[in-house]
Amino acid sequence: MRILTGKDVGIQFADNKRWLYRHVDFHLDSSQILALVGDNGVGKTTLIRAIMGQRALTEGELVRDHAQDLRIGYVPQYHDDIGAFPLHIADFVGLSYDRGLLPWLRRSEKEHLEHVLNEANLTEIANERIDRASGGEKQRAFLAQAMIQDPDVLILDEATANLDNVAKFALMDVVKHYRDHHDLSVIMVSHDLDIVERYSDNYLLLSPDGAEFGPIADLDTSKLEEGGRDHV
């Protein structure tokens, strides 16, 4: 089932009239993982903001085929304002229960939280402090936090960027588990070709001279040398 289609998407900044890219076409199907690749500064995060409805496209359109109220879970690229307080990981993840009037969590929410923590392999460290968690544990907590609201699309913006080879696969295995066990599509921005090739179904390569979209097997990695393998 088609979830999201980008048709002839173009983004230009109003202040300096620079086009980031034009004529970008792509689509996202249910239970697929789409890798968004391209060099630093090409506008990956900007496209994500557009997909989340936080900025307008200059031309083209993004069609939400699935439903009008597509729920998007987002793990941002920069997440630096946390970790200042010694919250337990469980409580931090539970911050995402942010609807409703009841100050405390309902029983069903508590059970759901436990389930989400379990899927993210966080059960054992649920009562450890988020500010002392390792980079990999923090990323899994951010991921769990994004999963709390049971999204249709999960967007990861360079979620594995600072993780070592063990932690990054641990994180991606959690993403894959979510994808396999929930009705979930994933868009992930990554400079890590190992990750991209191993986990994604399709890729969208952004560049100033045009975009390329296709099954991951067709990705020509030589086009990514600048931000590619040497990035890790």
């Binding site: 997440h79 946390i82 010694p86 942010d98």
Partner: protein, 260 residues
Amino acid sequence: MFNYPFMQNAYVVGTLIAIVSGFIGVFVVARSMSFLAHVLSEIGFAGASFALFMGWSPLLGMLGFTLVSSASIGQLDMGDERRSESTVSAVSSVAIGLGIAFLALSQKNASSATSILFGSIFSISHANIVQVIILTLAVLLVGVVLYRPLRHVAFDHATAVDSLPYVKMVDVVFLVLMATTVAVSAQVVGSLLIFILMTLPASAAMRWGRRVSHMIGLAIIFALVGVWGALALSYWTNVPVSFFIAMIESMIYFASTAAR
């Protein structure tokens, strides 16, 4: 000491204010807005002096000024302290300048200036008590009803902006709650010492608490201990309440820094 009505009033008002400052203080500290709270209290000082000059109640003057400025801060999108530090310092200078001017113009004696700056809980009027009770209960009610969104916005702003569709409104409501809390807390500690009820108990609590609810509970306890203790000590010694609250809360805070 509880036989005196002024002591009973002081304890009722002090208790309510401690609860509301501890509660809102946790969100203020989590969003690193203590500096903004301080500036709001300086704006409140200008408002209170203006009210004196006009012959109104200082609390209402303070509330009016802090509410208007917090609403405009929300409009200007200055909630993010880092971007706006210099603007805020300029606003703070204007506020204190205006406060001094209105005080001089109102030609009241020095004691009214002292009570605005350092608090006047023992001489609080009946009308003021009613106002404080209504305002604190209103803040608590809104704070509890909006607890979930406020908590997300305060403790993880980066994801709250994507998760909550009306995050801008939550920001504005939060600023209004903060402004009201500043105005009522100033009744006890004065506008110069707003930190000691809004920032210190919350900061101390946030070193011990491992859940947001624990942090709030501890912040309220720390604030209550300070206010209750200070009222009693002040009654026995005749030294101002604010002094004892400042000492007790600072002691709790410094003891808590050992917690991590």
